[in-house]
Every structure is written in C-alpha cells, then in structure tokens.
C-alpha cells in the first residue's frame, strides 16, 4: 500500500476548509430562507399589533405574551429526577447525532480522495464507515424521539414556550429529518450502483446534499440551545418581538455551530477509529490487519486534525459568552463550574497523549522512522510537563491550618502555574508538539529530493523555534507583568503562533516532499498497544463531550431560558462535580455499549451462514462465516 496515495495533507486541509465554508453557507442560506413571513406566526402578530390601530378580535389574541413563570407544582413528578432522565437521553441523542453528522462529512472527503487517486480502497473504506453511520442514524432518531417525549412530559411549560417562540421552524426541522433519511439511505444503498463514471458524480452530489441537509439540521437544533443560553428576538420578559431569524441568530449561535461542527468530526473520527482498532486486534489475516491498521490510522488522522483547531473555536465561543454576559462567562470559567476545566485538562491531555502515542507507535511501520525516533522522548517530556501545568489548579479548598502552613490560599508555585497565562502556554505548546509528532510521522517514510531540502528543513526548524519562544515570552511577559487587558490579548498572539506552525508545516512539507523518495512501509506492523490508544480517544472524546455539554448547559444556572424564564423545578441547582462526573460516566458507558451493538450489527451484515447442503463440503476451519 503506497503511502503517497493518501499523503496529501494540504488536500485534506483544503477539502476540510471547503466543507467548513460550505457548511456555513448552507447554514446561512437555510436559515435565511426560513425567515419568510409565512413562517413566523407570532412575529406577524406582533407587527400587526404594533402597526394596526383597527385591531380585530383575532389580532387581539395574538398580542405579546411573556414567557411562562411555572411554579414548582407545575413540574410533573414521576418519582425520578426529571433532569437526570433528560440529561441521559439528551446526551445520548447528541452523541449519536454528532456521529451521524460527522461520518458522512469525512466519508465524502475519503470518497473524493478515492476518485482523485483512483484507489478503490478509499471507496471501500468510506463505504464501511457509512455502514456504521447507518445504524447509528436509527439510534439517533430513537433517542431524539425519546428526548422529545421526555421534555414534553417533564417540562411542559418550557416546551410550550419554545414551541411558541420557534413556531413552524420546528416543522421545518421535521421535514429536513425526512429529507436527511431519504438521502442517507440512497447514498448508502446506492453506493455500488453509482460507483463508476458519471454515476459516481451523482453519488458524490448525494453526499454533498446529505451533508448540507445534515449541517442545516444541526444549526437548526443549535438555535434552540443557544436561544436558551442567550435569548434574542424576545423582550425582557420573553415575549417574541422579532422574526424567526432574529430569534435564531443569537450571539452564541455561530460560535456553537462552528465548535460543534469541528468537534463532531473529531468525535466521529475517534469512534470509527475504535471500530478499526477492534477489527485490527481481532483480524485473522495479515491483509485484514493491514487494512484495519490503515483504517485506524486514517480515523486517528481525521480525529486529531479536527481536534487541533477545536481549542480556537472554543476560544471564540467563550469570548462571545463573555461579551454577552461577563457573569455567565465567569460562572463557567471562574465560578462554580471552574473546577470542571481541570477535568477538561485531564481529558484533553489524555487525547493528546493517546494521539501522540499512536503516532509514535505507528512509526514502527516504516524503516525510515529511525531518523526521527530520537525526538520522541523530548516531545513526550514537553507534553507531560505541559499537561501537569494545565491540570494545576489556581486555588485549593483548604482548612485554616493548611492555609497557615502554606502561607496563603495560593501556593507560591501553584499560584503562578494555576492561572490562565501558564495554561495558555501549556496548551499551545502541547498543540505545537503534537503537530511535530504528526509531522515527523508523515516524514518518516520519505526522503526529500528537492534541491532546497536543507534550507526547507532549516526554515521549518526556525518557524518552530520562533513560535515556541514567542508563545513562552508573550505568555510570561503579558501574563505576569502587565494588567488583565493585555493578558487576554496575549492569547491571540499565542494562537496565531500555533496556527502559523501548523499551516506553514503543512504547506512547506507539501512542496518539500514533492517527488520524494518513498521508503518501505508495512501496514499492520504496529503494536497492539497502539490500538488501545485508539480506544482511549473515543472514551476521552465522549467524556469530554458530556462534560462540555454539561458546562454549556449549566452556565444558565437557575434559568431555563437565561434572564426570561426561570427554572423553578426541584432540579434547579448545579449538582456537585462528583454527581455530574458519575452521570458522564453513565452516559459514556451507555454510548460504548450502543456503539458495540452498532459494530456487531455492522459485522452481522457481512456474515453469511453456510447452506446446510454445502456444510459437509466445506473444511472445518471455514465453517464459521464472517467477514474478516
């Protein structure tokens, strides 16, 4: 299997960028279209009331109605915590929703690559990924339906209000769901029927349509969540005063759209990576092991590639949250929820360490990797130090005796490492060194043949050096020796430094390794431990999604819809971190069990029972059917 068939990261990035732009465009168009006047019953009524002086009885009914103010007695009590039920069901729906939206995205890219390179293995792999997605789709719908029923049963006033605010947009969502289902089934089941020639273009077009509808579904549902966080298009008491477009385009809508879009890809890549790892470990033939090793590598590539820009989308989201409400931002980052970011550091550290470990292990596939193996220990040391800085808390809950022994609530060392400037340095360095692992992995089976190879390498080293020095200097100088305004501003310089390394690295290598000499590479020649790194990724990603979803939802504190509709239910408190952590593990384990079911179904579809009349003619070793 030739590495250079799938070794064009520039193309991957370009395709990813095109898809991001396509997604944003599709989101904008779709939401613009649905802001037509037929769509906004409540809005039309507001306009009528404000402009017509001859008000009819019918118009009078359509006056401004504030958000409901339910009392505790208005929440049905079914004997189990309503929030816990909705928490589990909503999180399961979101996990599977993320998976089924993400997989077709990179399946389309892989299919395009297959067409571009003429290598049918891409096409086969893309088809196999879709096999996972198709079962996940049904489970997404089942959890979605359960979630809707749970919400209507347990939070009737909230749902009545949201129905009133979003009106017919909900029906558009339902219609899009039908459309998504139809296109998905045609795309999957028509794969072999539309595989070659012009028919392939039809199939690719279906893939684009599938992703367009999927992205629109996602941004539509996102608008409900972001409305609850930062309501727009309503007045101070929640009465609708804007049209549906004004309701949807709240200040957090696009930051959430982008963040979820990227996170979905990373999450989807990690889940299918686990599938490949499982198949690789259980493979009975060298070919199968090689195939699933390659599939796992590709999945990990997708997951880490999507993961690298995710912190920057997170920055944007948090910046917008702060701009909308400093109180909300501080509740998340510096208030009662702040400790959750220590767990986030543990999770992201796990992801980066697992991703790096997989890359280092994968270098055993190529003979040329010996040139770079000496770097690994240094990269590992940097990653571990940065990880430890990241998980360092700023303050500790201490007894008075401990405070006295410590000389204050901030330990001299922890105080300095626990604040954001130190963490910003650590995160950016972890990302840069993860990219370095990725880059040396990519280079390990190639030898540059261009005349300027040495100069190109020197340039790359210089870019790394300048970026690392810049990140540390800016972080230390502005973080510790100037005031808060510059402290915040310095993180932008650090992010730009990191992105510069990534973009320059990808572009430079694309030119540096043009017509490069390729060294022998052996797929399947990788340790089994490396496959467990591919299990670590989806577990950490799943837990991370549950954690960040919980933070996003909890910043509303005791409001269903922030500032306009209070949550007066028995569950209107923020639970302890331990309780939340237990819930996250429950949903993660449930997700893993369902995913195993999906993997089993995917296997089952390729299993054929041997006919009874032929059983005696088949050697004993082949009697158990099954796809490799």
């Amino acid at each position: 299997m030739k590495e250079n068939h799938y070794s064009s990261p520039l193309m991957w990035l370009t395709l990813l960028l095109i898809m991001v732009l396509g997604f944003l465009w599709s989101g904008t168009i779709s939401t613009t279209d649905i802001s037509g006047e037929w769509f906004s019953g409540a809005v039309a009524s507001v306009e009528n009331v404000s402009t017509d002086t001859a008000v009819t009885d019918e118009d009078a009914e359509l006056k401004l109605v504030p958000a409901p103010r339910p009392t505790r007695a208005d929440y049905p009590d079914i004997g189990v915590s309503s929030r816990s039920i909705v928490w589990v069901v909503a999180q399961m729906h979101l996990f599977f929703g993320a998976l089924v939206l993400a997989v077709p995205l990179f399946v389309l890219v892989i299919e395009l690559l297959g067409m571009y390179t003429g290598d049918s293995r891409y096409d086969d792999m893309a088809h196999e990924f879709m096999k996972i997605s198709i079962t996940a789709y049904s489970i997404t719908a089942l959890f979605g339906g359960t979630l809707a029923l749970s919400l209507f049963l347990l939070y009737p006033d909230l749902m009545a209000y949201l129905m009133r605010v979003f009106g017919a947009q909900m029906m558009v969502y339902a219609i899009l769901f039908f459309l998504e289902s139809m296109v998905l089934y045609i795309y999957y089941y028509g794969w072999d029927a539309l595989r070659y020639g012009n028919a392939k273009w039809v199939h690719l077009s279906l893939g684009v349509l599938l992703n367009g509808v999927g992205a629109t579904l996602m941004v539509t549902a996102n608008s409900w969540a972001t409305f609850m966080m930062a309501p727009s298009g309503v007045n101070e008491v929640g009465a609708v005063i804007g049209n549906i477009w004004e309701v949807m385009k709240g200040p957090l809508w696009n930051p959430i759209n982008l963040h979820r879009f990227i996170a979905n890809i990373a999450f989807g890549g990690a889940v299918v990576g686990a599938y490949a790892a499982y198949k690789c470990l259980a493979a009975r033939t060298a070919e199968a092991r090689a195939h699933y090793d390659w599939m796992g590598y590709t999945s990990n590539f997708i997951a880490i590639l999507a993961f690298l820009p995710l912190p920057f989308a997170g920055y944007w989201l948090m910046a917008e949250i702060y701009a909308y409400s400093q109180q909300m931002g501080i509740t998340a980052m510096g208030g009662i929820l702040a400790w959750l970011f220590i767990i986030q550091a543990v999770l992201i550290g796990t992801i980066l360490l697992a991703g790096n470990y997989y890359l280092w292990s994968g270098m055993s596939r190529t003979e040329g990797s010996k040139r770079y193996q000496g770097f690994i220990k240094y990269i590992a040391v940097v990653l571990v130090i940065c990880f430890l800085i990241w998980v360092t808390p700023h303050t500790l809950i201490l007894t008075s005796g401990e405070i006295a022994a410590l000389g204050g609530s901030n330990h001299p060392l922890l105080g300095a490492l626990g604040i954001m400037p130190a963490k910003n340095i650590a995160v950016n360095l972890m990302l840069i060194f993860t990219f370095m692992s990725f880059q040396i992995y990519r280079r390990s089976d190639k030898v540059a043949t261009v005349s300027w190879a040495k100069a190109g390498n020197a340039l790359m080293v210089a870019i790394y050096a300048v970026a690392i020095v810049n990140i540390i200097f800016v972080g230390v100088y502005y973080g510790y020796f100037t005031n808060t305004v510059y402290k915040v501003g310095s993180s932008v310089i650090q992010v730009v430094s990191t992105l510069t390394v990534i973009i320059c690295g990808v572009v430079l290598d694309a030119f540096l390794y043009r017509k490069a000499k390729t060294l022998p590479s052996h797929w399947g020649q990788v340790s089994n431990r490396a496959q467990y790194a591919l299990f670590a990724l989806p577990i950490a990603f799943t837990w991370l999604m549950a954690l960040m979803g919980y933070v996003r939802s909890s910043v509303r504190t005791h409001w269903h819809v922030y500032t306009v509709m209070k949550d007066t239910s028995p569950d209107n408190f923020i639970p302890t971190i331990g309780y939340a952590g237990n819930m996250m593990t429950i949903v993660t384990v449930m997700f893993v069990l369902f995913v195993l079911f999906i993997f089993w179904i995917a296997n089952l579809s390729g299993t054929k029972q041997i006919p009874p009349y032929a059983i005696n003619k088949v050697p004993a070793t082949e009697r158990v059917g099954g796809a490799a």
Binding site: V49, T53, Q327, A530, A580
Partner: protein
C-alpha cells in the same frame, strides 16, 4: 514497537473483553478525578424571608453581605482577580465621592449612597477606567443591572448591599431601614393606606399625645387650631422631623422620629391638609374628592398624573381620554406589581383592544421611585366604587 505484530491473533471475545475493560477503566479514572475535586453544590437563589420588624442596622448590613457573596453574585467579579474593581479592598464611600468628582461622571447622584445605588441599577453611567467592555473604550460596563434579570435584587436588597458597602469600612450607614415590604402591604387584609383622617390618627396613635378631633392626650401640643399658627410646610416638617422646632413648653425627643419612614405620602398629605384646615375631614373629602385640575384626590398622585399627562389617554377619576384603557377600575383587575409593570414596561402585557407602542415606554427613566409609588398606590385603590 512491532514485537507483538507477529503474535497469533486473539479471539473476538478476548478482544471485546479487553477493549471493554480498558474503556471502562478509563471512564472510571475520569470519574475518580471528578470525585476527588472539591464537591460544591450551586443552589438557586432563594428569596430570603426578612422580618422587617426585627431588622437592625447590623442585621441589615449582614443581609447585604450575604447578598454580595450570594444572590447578588457580586463577588464573582469584584474580587482580587482583576475582573472588576476589588470592592472588598476599597473604601467604597471614598471611591464614590472620588468618582462623583470625575469629569467623566454623567449621572444624577449627589452623594455616596445615591452613587452606589445608581452604580448598581445603572452601571453604565460611570465605567471605572480599564474595566469597560472590551473594545468600548470604557463607555460600556460589562456589569448587569442588579435589579433586572438574571440577578433581580429588590429595592430592599439593593439598599442592604449599599448598607454593607458603607459599613464594611466603618462609614455611617445612610440608607434607611426598610419598615414595610410593599408586597405585604398590598396583600394585607388591613387597609394598606389609611383612607380617612380618623384612620391616619388611629394608625399612628396621634391622639395618645395630642388633642385632636375633640379628644386626646396632653403630652404633646393641642392640634385643634394648629393651622392658625403654622404653615403647611411647618406642619409637615414638625411631623417628619419633630425636633427641629419645638413648641414652647414641650420637651424634645418625645415624639417619634420615624414618621417619615412609616407614613405613606398620601397619609402625610391627608394629615397635613387636615391640620391646616383645622376641621374634621371625611374620607371622601380628603381622599376621594376630585381636585379641580385632575379629578384626583391624592395630591402626590395628582401631581404625577398632571406632570406626565396620564389623562390625555386614560380616564382617571371621571375624566380623561380614551386612547388607552380606562383606569377607573384598574385596581379590581390588576395588582400593584402588574400596574407598576404596565407603567414602566407598557408593551409587555397589553389590555385587549389596545395596540402596543402607543404608551411611552420611558416612564421608568422619567419618574422617580416616589412618584411611581404614589401613582401605583393610587391606581391600586381604583376599584370602581
């Protein structure tokens, strides 16, 4: 790293068990981290029951402190982390006086107390240097108005916070102690505001010391003919600030000093009018008789109604326009909160048959709290007959 690749492939069951065990172990590790961290529960703010009768300055200041760190969420930003001015490290009375002198200050406050109140309910009026919203050049404050969502402090709670801010550095507490909660007053079965002069005299036990309406004690001066000697302003002052001028032969410090806080505006006006006239006034005469200008009896409300031209659109006490709903019977349909909201946010809930956007939405900015209170009290009493 490739030593294992030549080993015999494992069975699917073995791989499944190992991968599940690994996944579960990792998930449990994350759970362990979550359970090792400090366990704090974030309760939703609970409305505190305050016994106004038992409230002292000390307990009022303590209430303010608990709001500062609790419901008010003030300490979220006002701490030593540089998010907002570190109030706990600053003498806020001195800071307030300093800010009042700043040429950038554009508000209406005249002293530290009013400045602090203003900074709580309208934080954008003066933004402390370097603490404005990013990119606003210190013209927009990131602080929410504490009397609105999501914080929603009541006037009593705001005053308690001010009392705390004044007291924490040893300054005098100038905010008055609340004596009655408006909500309780309105829902009370007892007459909320005395409707007749007899009720006023009885409510404040005037006749325990003064002779009036033919009976009463002699601990204080006889008030039967007081209108002959004192102007309305002097009578008003002698009620609300009784020790400023003492009637010859009567010692200072005997008459309660807190009638200004206890009496409603309407009651004080009724009492002053009665004492000036020096004759018995029936409830109809003092409280309900329409005045020539507005057709309204409550003189404070009368001024408000006249000043803001309410009768241009609403029928009040028998006269007015019909562009807005008649307010003759409004007290029978709406409670005090609803009336208050319909004045300051007229487009939120509309009366059937009347369009939105007609009534000016800026009365909250134009009316003082006292004017709004007077108008609300008057309208609550309009129950048609």
């Amino acid at each position: 790293m490739n030593t294992e690749q030549t080993r015999e492939p494992k069975s699917s069951g073995n791989v499944l068990a190992k991968s599940m065990g690994f996944s579960l172990g990792l998930a449990l590790l994350f759970t362990l981290v979550a359970n090792l961290l400090p366990q704090v529960k974030g309760e939703a703010p609970v409305e505190q029951e305050v016994d106004l009768g038992a409230l002292t300055i000390e307990s009022f200041v303590a209430l303010g402190e608990s709001i500062f760190t609790g419901k008010g969420t003030c300490s979220l930003c006002h701490n030593d982390l540089g998010r907002a001015p570190d109030i706990l490290a600053l003498n806020m009375v001195e800071v307030a006086i300093q800010h009042l002198k700043d040429e950038r200050y554009k508000g209406n406050a005249v002293d530290a107390e009013s400045y602090l109140h203003e900074s709580l309910v309208d934080p954008g009026i003066y933004v402390v240097k370097d603490f404005g919203k990013k990119g606003s050049n210190d013209t927009i404050s990131p602080m929410p108005a504490v009397n609105k969502a999501p914080i929603e402090l009541s006037e009593i709670e705001i005053n308690a916070v001010i009392a705390y801010l004044q007291a924490k550095d040893g300054n005098d507490v100038t905010v008055p102690l609340p004596i009655e909660a408006p909500e309780v007053e309105i829902q009370s079965a007892e007459p909320i505001v005395a409707g007749t002069i007899e009720e006023v005299l009885a409510k404040y036990n005037c006749q325990a010391c003064h002779k009036v309406l033919g009976s009463g004690g002699d601990l204080g001066p006889d008030l039967e003919q007081v209108g002959m000697h004192l102007s309305p302003e002097q009578i008003r002052q002698s009620i609300i600030d009784p020790d400023v001028e003492i009637t010859k032969g009567f010692p200072p410090g005997v008459m309660p000093q807190n009638f200004a806080e206890q009496m409603r505006v309407k009651e004080l006006d009724m009492l002053v009018t009665f004492l000036v006239d020096g004759e018995m006034a029936s409830s109809e005469k003092t409280a309900r008789t329409p005045s020539p200008g507005t057709g309204v009896g409550n003189s404070e409300a009368e001024k408000v109604i006249a000043q803001f031209g309410c009768q241009a659109c609403h029928i009040i006490s028998g006269s007015g326009g019909e562009l807005g709903p008649s307010l003759e019977n409004v007290g029978a349909h709406l409670d005090a909160d609803q009336i208050r909201q319909s004045i300051i946010e007229p487009n939120v809930v509309l009366t059937e048959g009347f369009p939105s956007g007609v009534m000016p939405p800026n009365f909250a900015e134009q009316m003082s709290d006292a004017q709004l209170d007077a108008l609300v009290i008057f309208l609550v009493e309009q129950k048609g007959g």
